[in-house]
Symmetry: C2
DNA sequence: CCCTGTGAACCTGTTCACAGCG
DNA sequence: CGCTGTGAACAGGTTCACAGGG
């Protein structure tokens, strides 16, 4: 029986990892659950519990060695080797994502950008040439791509998602609102900016 | 005693609202918890429980009237009247967000864009003139702005956040990685795209 | 009889508190 | 003695199952 891993814990792993990288840059080599917790506004028990979910990384009486721990967490997250990613839908948001600096630092490399509009094909976005989505399946196969960002309109997103799934993509991060129907074996993440804003707006209503 | 409202329920309210708007466009006037649930891949009990958290909207034996329910939910979310928002940090992502079509539809109107770089000031992004962040506090006060999007670098985000809080902003949606230290009375939302990608990458490791 | 609204059971994830190792 | 790792208690949210109105 594979033990189930709490999704919230995985979410926090990202934060731990990011924080540890910052600390390493400052030359710090060890940290206790208490200190790490304080910097992220969590409790020390939470940090220990989370890390313990994935293995035994600390030394009693001492704390965690940042170097080895960072390495282990990267491996767990699947970002110990650089992962190639592609983007479908080169609109405003798509363009910004292709140029986004943050991915590289976290182990992701944007290697392809696709769209369906003829007038966009062949143009450049950042250092990438925009390809027709027709060429996506071969590209995915050749370069062994597993992850894609989806920034098409809501109306096109299900159709494009299905194409990605057929092409062998294993995880899709969608920026379109609306639930995607997913086949088994493909993971979906969704970033809904307007929904996030609405949640903020809600917290205002209770206070004013 | 004000009863506490589960944060996950608020998150789902956004989804209900969006779905109901879609249904209304199709001319549908009534829906049962079961049908609404199916379209979002939730359970009917969940839908009923969530809606009941905020009031009594349904009729037994019948279901929910889409028109009135939509109106009520908008009011609850605080988006029944258009809310003005501003953006700080006109980089790649900022530019995309200013031009983003989705906000208007959800009741948000982008009315100001600010940056600190002299060479950007006075240029246009979409239909907005970029202003110096120095002018932000007066702008916020005059136009009575409550919400802001923050797309500065991680290193600047805490400093800018504090300025926003001092200017009277009540909710900030940040796109920079790293936890912000927040004063009471200001709500924070965070969108960390790289972290979302990492979570997808994680789900891959367990399967391959 | 249909479908909502809701106590109660259940379950999952968090916090507590301490045993155990360095 | 310090700090991790972890059973056990706890809390919050979800699901069940049914009472009750239309």
């Amino acid at each position: 029986m594979t033990k189930p891993i709490p999704a919230p814990a995985v979410k926090r792993l990202s934060l731990y990892l990011h924080q540890l990288e910052n600390l390493a840059e400052k030359g710090i080599e060890r940290i206790s659950s208490k200190e790490l917790a304080k910097s992220l506004q969590f409790t020390s028990a939470q940090v220990r519990r989370d890390l313990a979910t994935f293995g035994q990384f600390g030394r009693r009486g001492v704390g965690y060695e940042i170097g080895p721990l960072t390495k282990s967490l990267r491996k767990i997250m699947g970002t110990d080797k650089t992962r190639n990613i592609i983007l479908i839908g080169v609109g405003n948001l798509g363009r910004a994502l292709v140029r986004h600096r943050g991915f590289r630092r976290r182990g992701f490399l944007m290697v392809g950008a696709f769209d369906i509009k003829p007038e966009k094909i062949g143009k450049k976005v950042g250092s990438l040439k925009i390809r027709h989505i027709r060429q996506m399946p071969r590209f995915v196969k050749n370069k062994n791509i597993r992850l894609a960002l989806l920034t098409t309109s809501a109306s096109a997103s299900q159709e494009v998602f299905d194409q990605l799934a057929r092409a062998g993509i294993r995880g899709v991060l969608s920026f379109a609102p609306g639930k995607l129907q997913k086949p088994p074996g493909v993971a979906i993440g969704q970033v809904d900016i307007a929904a996030n804003l609405e949640q903020l707006a809600f917290s205002l209503t209770s206070e004013e």
